[in-house]
């Protein structure tokens, strides 16, 4: 390997497409897009070597707003699609974008198994604690008393704790960011992409249309007061007692990523027939 590598200097604009995002004015996802392009530029990745995969929802519109390869698939299945892509194309950087409905409700089972499988990819969930695209229904992270047309008086159901689930299921990197801090978020995303295995980044991204109360998030988020850990026990305690607003890298594990051997054929195809011959 050469000790000298040369790469193009890249700027965030190199990763933006010419499409104007269809998001409400003030949506946190604009800043998440900014963080994506800044992280990619920071890492200097060629845009054609990045695949951004998503499901359905406001947040899942993000692939087309990047200048990377993208896949805007069906609701809730982005992690599975990304797994098939990454294991057959380990040379690509795969980033999966989702929301709290797409990722934790309809896609909940895939979340567990993606953490467990630990394929080298980065999973970004823009959590606004509401279904925005369908106009304001509760998601798995919505507070139990939050009143909606679908659930008058609130759901009465305890919210889901995605970071704890991720840790218990085997995610190798767990972080929380706030969309209103795009530089810090870009730094965490770059770390998440660089870290081998399944990296999970929850980004608190306010829905100003259906959750105007989330405008207050900027006043309650804070950097986590403790340093990141690679100790699952410590991380578990920290996440279980967390109020949901501590930001930063909260867990960085060292499980080797899952990548089945892939390569050229070691045999002639006709040899596969030998077992059938009489």
């Amino acid at each position: 390997m050469s000790s000298v590598t040369t790469r193009l200097a890249r700027k965030p604009a190199d990763y933006k497409s010419d499409l104007n995002p269809i998001w409400c004015p003030g949506c946190g996802d604009y800043h998440v897009l900014m963080s994506f392009t800044r992280a990619f530029a920071q890492l200097g990745l060629p845009p054609e070597m990045i695949a951004v995969v998503s499901g359905i929802g406001c947040s899942s519109r993000i692939p087309a707003y990047t200048n990377c390869y993208g896949f805007h698939g069906v609701h809730g299945r982005s992690l599975a699609l990304a797994a098939g892509l990454k294991v057959t194309r380990p040379d690509l950087t795969v980033v999966v974008a989702s929301g709290d409905g797409d990722g934790y409700s309809i896609g909940g089972n895939h979340f567990l198994h993606a953490c467990r499988r630990n394929i080298d990819m980065t999973y970004v969930v823009m959590d606004n604690r509401i279904y925005g695209m369908t106009k304001g229904q509760p998601s798995p992270t919505t507070e139990p008393e939050f009143d909606t047309a679908l659930t008058p008086g609130g759901t009465g159901v305890r919210p889901f704790h995605p970071l704890v689930v991720a840790l218990a299921s085997g995610a190798n990197f767990i972080a929380r960011c706030f969309s209103g801090e795009p530089n810090e978020t870009a730094d965490v995303l770059a770390e998440a992409i660089k870290h081998p295995g399944f990296s999970f980044v929850e980004i608190l991204s306010p829905c100003v249309t259906f959750r105007p109360d989330e405008r207050e998030w900027k006043n309650v988020v804070r950097p986590a007061s403790v340093a990141e850990t690679n100790d699952q026990g410590k991380a578990a305690r920290r996440l279980m007692t967390d109020d949901g607003f501590n930001l930063g890298i909260l867990y960085r594990g060292n499980r080797p990523p899952f990548q089945p051997a892939l390569g050229v054929s070691k045999i002639d195809l006709s040899q596969l027939e030998n077992e059938f011959e009489l």
Binding site: L19, P46, P47, E48, M49, A51, V52, V53, P63, A64, N67, C68, Y69, G70, F71, H72, G73, V74, G76, R77, S78, L79, A80, L81, A82, A83, G84, L85, K86, V87, T88, R89, D91, L92, N109, H110, L112, H113, P260, A261, L262, G263, V264, S265, K266, I267, L269, Q271, L272, E273, F276, E277, L278
Partner: protein, 572 residues
């Protein structure tokens, strides 16, 4: 008595008695000696303790269906035989070998007028250390069928070697004992001399053939969620894909499996999953995604009895409707159906080639009968259908993934290609792939996806068309073999029958069927469904230029050549 072109044997026992091992072993003996054969298992859903029977038909020529009636039945015990109902037909010509300690003879024997010979197979087995009654049965069957003891013993290492030297020795002793005890038994059916093979001969299941066909067609990634009766495809692919640099990934459910193969194919690696009806139901949404986003994938559905969990271990043709019509929206895609164990190879390979060429999903409708049957066949010919995707090259300027190209197939950029970046999308999109709800783009892309299928020349492989009689027998899938045999019997009666079995079910081929039906005076449609799905499909898409009758009934019993022959004779 003249030698028979085919002889059929059923080996019966409760689950765990080893009846299936005996049947499988016997198929190996006969096929090594040059005969063709078909072996199917019939069993309940229990892993142990249920009913089990190995049904074997040996013949001079290729056989793709079971007989109307068995020539020889060997029963190790009758404990659960009542559960077979009328699955195993016994007649006055049948020889039944029964263990007197195996329980009472069931009505299927007592009401048949067949000749019963009692042999204490369990007792004989007890006199051999480690002996098992199913090996005694094997020795008996081998002798009755006219094999030499050397022929019967020949496959012993291959069949039982993994059980250890002691087990092989015990089995050898058992086979010898069975062979001896059968010495005086009269069995008149004898196989005719086998026809020498030119291509070489194979012994495999339809599921094996399907998996090999996929690899030959270019598949290098499979996603797997276990389901009866498709699992063997995935279990064969797992080690064999890794030998050729491919990967199989076990998915958490069928929703994941279908999306994994879409991801793989999007990245440039041809991909397949295999499932059965319940799994296909779960995959349908994502198959629509692959249709809209124009991602080639192959889905093999090894059909079983439905609806819902249905009859997991038995065959039916009742997924035709969901395969063709199950997708929401106007979503043209490919549906193909193999016609025999050997044809599973060709059809899956062709399906992979077509999916890749046309950038769309292909659903392959196999079924439990041919999927899990093992057959001794002529080695299938090598064909040149290897995945041929139109890949973008030298991309300059604004790349249009969904360009309205002549023929409808547009060049596909693969991640990693500079300048080809696009977002594959299930939303209605423009030529560039940008989401839109405009009427113009919607219509243009619907036309594109329809035209690429409609304008493609599928060639003669679209159907098997045999004979020129004025009675057309139209069927599909694993019933093709039985229909062919019925047509042969009708010909012997003096009635020429024209057999038409489409291998390509979607897109429909109205002009080709019209040509195939030219001059027919009557049309008999045969299918394994309760509701007549295939008949309705034919009526919806094709002009049937003569009076039509249908013979259809549900599973779990496979429709036989005899039933089809009767349906032909009854239409006078």
């Amino acid at each position: 008595m003249a030698a028979s072109p085919s002889i059929s044997i059923a080996v019966i026992g409760s689950g765990g008695a080893g009846a299936l091992t005996t049947g499988n072993f016997l198929l190996e003996v006969a096929s090594s000696a040059g005969w063709h054969g078909l072996f199917t298992r019939t069993l309940g859903p229990q892993i142990r303790g249920g009913e089990a029977a190995g049904l074997l038909r040996l013949a001079v020529h290729p056989v793709d269906c079971l007989p109307d009636q068995f020539d020889l039945i060997i029963s190790i015990d009758w404990l659960n035989a009542h559960r077979f109902g009328n699955e195993i037909k016994v007649g006055p010509q049948t020889l039944v070998i029964s263990d007197p300690r195996g329980g009472k003879l069931p009505p299927l024997v007592t009401e048949s007028g067949s000749r019963v010979v009692e042999i204490a197979m369990k007792e004989i087995a007890k006199s051999i250390p480690g002996g098992r009654a199913n090996m005694i049965a094997l020795g008996i069957a081998g002798r009755l069928l006219g094999f030499t003891i050397e022929q019967v013993l020949a496959p012993i290492e291959k069949q039982l070697g993994d059980k250890g030297a002691a087990a092989v020795e015990a089995s050898r002793a058992g086979i010898n004992a069975g062979f001896e005890v059968a010495a005086g038994i009269r069995f008149e059916a004898q196989l005719a001399t086998p026809v020498p093979s030119h291509a070489g001969r194979w012994l495999l299941s339809g599921n094996d053939a399907t998996a090999l066909g996929a690899i030959r067609g270019g598949v290098r990634f499979a996603a797997a969620y276990p389901i009866t009766p498709a699992t063997e495809i995935l279990e064969w692919l797992s080690p064999n894909l890794s030998k050729i640099g491919g990967i199989l990934l076990q998915a958490e459910d069928e929703l994941a499996a279908i999306n994994m193969i879409i991801g793989s194919s999007y990245g440039g690696t041809p991909a397949l999953t295999a499932t059965s009806g319940p799994g296909l139901s779960l995959m349908i949404e994502a198959i629509g995604l692959a249709t809209a986003a124009e991602i080639p994938i192959v889905i093999v559905d090894v059909m079983r009895g439905g609806p819902s969990t249905g009859i997991p271990t038995k065959s039916e043709q009742t997924d035709l409707n969901i395969a063709i019509y199950g997708l929401h929206g106007d979503a043209p895609h490919l549906v193909l159906a193999p016609q025999s164990v050997g044809d599973c190879l060709f059809t899956t390979q062709w399906a992979t080639y077509l999916a890749e060429s046309l950038q769309t999903p292909a659903i392959v409708l196999s079924d439990q009968f041919m999927g899990q049957a093992r057959a001794a066949i002529e080695r299938p010919a090598d064909v040149a259908f290897i995945g041929a995707r139109t890949i973008a090259a030298n991309i300059a300027g604004a790349y249009k993934r969904y360009a309205l190209a002549p023929g409808g197939v547009s060049a596909m950029a693969i991640p990693g290609m500079p300048g080809g970046q696009y977002t594959a999308d299930g939303l209605t999109h423009s030529e560039r792939g940008v989401p839109t709800s405009g009427a113009g783009d919607h219509l243009a892309q619907l036309d594109k996806r329809r035209d690429k299928l409609d304008r493609f020349n599928f060639g003669d492989h679209w159907a098997s068309i045999e004979g020129a009689g004025d009675l057309a027998l139209i069927t599909w899938g694993s019933l093709t073999g039985a229909a062919r045999e019925a047509a042969g019997r009708a010909a012997a009666d003096g009635l020429d029958v024209r057999l038409i079995a489409p291998r390509l079910l979607a897109p429909v081929q109205p002009e080709r069927l019209a040509a195939a039906l030219e001059g027919v005076k009557r049309i008999l449609v045969v299918e394994q469904t309760h509701s007549g799905q295939f008949l309705r499909y034919l009526r919806a898409h094709y002009d049937l230029p003569a009076p039509v009758r249908a013979f259809h009934r549900p599973g779990p019993l496979q429709i036989t050549a005899g039933e089809i022959h009767r349906a032909i004779r009854d239409w006078r």
